[in-house]
């Protein structure tokens, strides 16, 4: 399988990465090189094989559903580019 330029633009949109017209051809070439490389996986017989979900045979740990941490609003917004009174500020979303 290989991707055309429209698909490259569609993937970039899904990934929320702006691409310019100049970016598209080289990205297309690089993505197709990777897709060509992984193409060999189609020759493997995977009939009846379970997909891996956990690499070690472990049960995911659970804990009581209680508050273990909190009161850290200062810490949480400390690294944000724009904040106001412990809120993250973003461009207007609702008209």
């Amino acid at each position: 399988m290989s991707v055309d330029t429209d698909t490259v633009r569609r993937i970039a949109r899904l990934a929320r990465i702006r691409v310019t017209d100049e970016d598209v051809p080289h990205l297309q070439g690089e993505l197709n090189a990777i897709l060509a490389f992984v193409e060999q996986l189609s020759e493997v017989d995977v009939e009846g094989v379970e997909p891996m979900t956990s690499v070690t045979p472990m049960r995911i740990k659970t804990r009581e559903d209680g508050v273990a941490d909190g009161d850290k609003a200062d810490d949480i917004v400390a690294n944000a580019p724009v904040t106001e009174d412990h809120f993250f500020v973003v461009p207007k979303v609702v008209e």
Binding site: I11, R16, E30, I34, V38, V44, V49, A78, N79
Partner: protein, 493 residues
């Protein structure tokens, strides 16, 4: 007195215990070496004040007889580990001046053991790379050069800064991470020891995530014994990481001198790849001879799905990365580039903040997870991963204790030499290491010799899940037979 920066971690600990020097002197010697080695670009942030304060605290504990197992020993921290109050960037522009309000579990464990932080170390952006050339801070230059040449070589990646720092004596040891070979390949390129423990041995909490089902932390050190000491402190259960194993950490240092008598070492025929340089083949043979002479038995084994590990990795890892890196949106931390509306802001921020290799992988990951392609790519790759793991399980069930392979298909290459046109050329570096991550097993790279141009080469040992001890014991036998590595004399200042 020999230069304090030439000591191993174990030797430095002994010197501190005997009061031959203080933690402050040991730390200052390293800080001086770091300041003179900026041409290597191994550190992205030096923290001398913090280092000296930690060293003084160590000297006080040493004086009171309250020393931890790594008390007063100065180390470097890969910039993928979050360190409280100290800028942590994953060597990406998108994290900007991100300064965590918390400490990663692994580094917290190291400080609790008494280690001293010298600074934050360069790596590939989000640990995506095999040469440390994708870092937003620029490439790391290896302290190693080919005989009779001053061409700049890569230290490997993604933990290239860690490997360069240790082999240039800019730290007694360094933390690193390994998703497809990022500890073992740079260790092999720089004559250092690197171990990626079993998945779940070290907590991933507070380490910037790349591919969560593959990422593991581990150390890069000057010796196998040092690697055992470092991993001992780094590993252990952690309630904050649900995939971190609730298992006690064995006494790794005790395992180092255990020997290999009676062990069965598997030699996988699929690792004899086409076009493998004769000196790699000879090194592998040499490793087998050394282990045989020390009393181990070599057994030919087959791991039939080996060749599919790398292509399957280039589906699984980017898929997980595209999901993990969705958090970098210009809202909660890091870089923000303004836009017309919120979507425009996201797209501009991510276009500006991510480098080329990261964009490529996020886009591949987005594609293989997108509607209509999930089954053909991602689901198939996860099934193949099951087969890769089964290959190893069958070999171990047949009585093999560990597996010996080359660590890399070649010695270090030049900066700018690989992958500029075809990304796959660079990816092939990880052909021998990536299987281990896909199966969640432990793997160690140990320096075993040199190529014709005087560059270090490594051998890899792969163990059973949670059996790092056999890797330390076997690695020590190879290290002893190969002899202690003489690191390059400082041409860098």
């Amino acid at each position: 007195m020999t230069d304090l920066t030439d000591l191993t971690l174990a030797e430095a600990r002994e010197g501190l215990a005997k009061k031959s020097f203080s933690a402050r002197e040991l730390t200052q010697a390293h800080l001086d070496a770091v300041a003179k080695a900026r041409a290597l670009n191994a550190y992205v942030l030096e923290t001398p004040e913090k280092a000296l304060a930690m060293a003084d605290a160590s000297d006080a504990r040493l004086a009171k007889g309250e020393a931890g197992p790594l008390e007063g020993l100065p180390i470097g921290v890969k910039d993928l580990f979050c360190t409280e109050g100290v800028r942590s960037t994953a060597c990406s522009r998108i994290l900007d001046d991100f300064t965590p309000r918390y400490e990663s579990t692994v580094t917290a464990n190291l400080w609790r053991a008494g280690a001293v932080m010298l600074g934050k170390i360069n790596c590939d952006e989000f640990a995506m790379g095999s040469s440390n050339e994708t870092s937003a801070f620029g490439p790391v230059v290896s302290p190693w050069r080919r005989a009779g040449s001053d061409a700049a070589l890569v230290p490997g990646g993604s933990s290239g800064g860690s490997a360069a720092a240790v082999s240039a004596r800019l730290a007694l040891a360094a933390t690193a991470t390994d998703t497809g070979g990022s500890i073992r390949q740079p260790a092999a390129f720089t004559g250092t020891v690197g171990i990626k423990p079993t998945y779940g041995r070290c907590s991933r909490w507070g380490i910037v995530a790349f591919a969560s089902s593959l990422d593991q932390a581990g150390p890069i050190t000057k010796s196998v014994e040092d690697a055992a000491m470092m991993l001992q402190a780094m590993a252990g259960p952690d309630a904050k990481d649900t995939t971190c194993a609730d298992m006690p950490v064995p006494d790794y240092r005790a395992a180092v001198s255990r020997g290999v008598r009676g062990l069965r070492i598997g030699i996988p025929k699929e690792y004899r790849v086409e076009g493998m340089p004769a000196e790699i083949e000879a090194l592998w043979q040499q490793g087998q001879d050394w282990l045989r002479a020390a009393g181990a038995e070599m057994v030919e084994i087959s791991l039939p799905h080996t060749k599919y590990a790398l292509p399957a990795y280039y589906i699984v890892a980017p898929a997980e990365a595209s999901s993990n890196l969705a958090r970098y949106d210009g809202v909660r931390y890091g870089l923000r580039v303004p836009g017309r509306d919120i979507t425009d802001m996201y797209e501009m921020t991510r276009a500006e903040g991510f480098g080329r290799e990261v964009k490529r992988r996020v886009m591949i990951g987005t594609y293989v997870l997108s509607a209509g392609y999930y089954d053909a790519y991602y689901l198939r790759a996860q099934k193949i991963r099951t087969l890769i793991k089964r290959d190893f399980e069958e070999a171990y069930a047949a009585g093999v204790d560990a597996i010996l392979t080359p660590a890399t298909p070649s010695a270090a290459f030049g900066i700018g030499e690989k992958g500029s046109g075809d990304p796959v050329e660079m990816y092939l570096n990880d052909i021998f290491t990536v299987t281990v991550n896909m199966a969640g097993l432990p793997g160690i790279s140990v320096p075993a010799g040199f190529d014709a141009q005087g560059l270090p080469l490594g051998l890899q040992l792969i163990g059973r899940a949670f059996d790092e001890e056999t890797l330390f014991a076997t690695g020590r036998v190879i290290e002893e037979a190969a002899g202690r590595v003489t690191y390059p004399q400082p041409w860098w200042g």
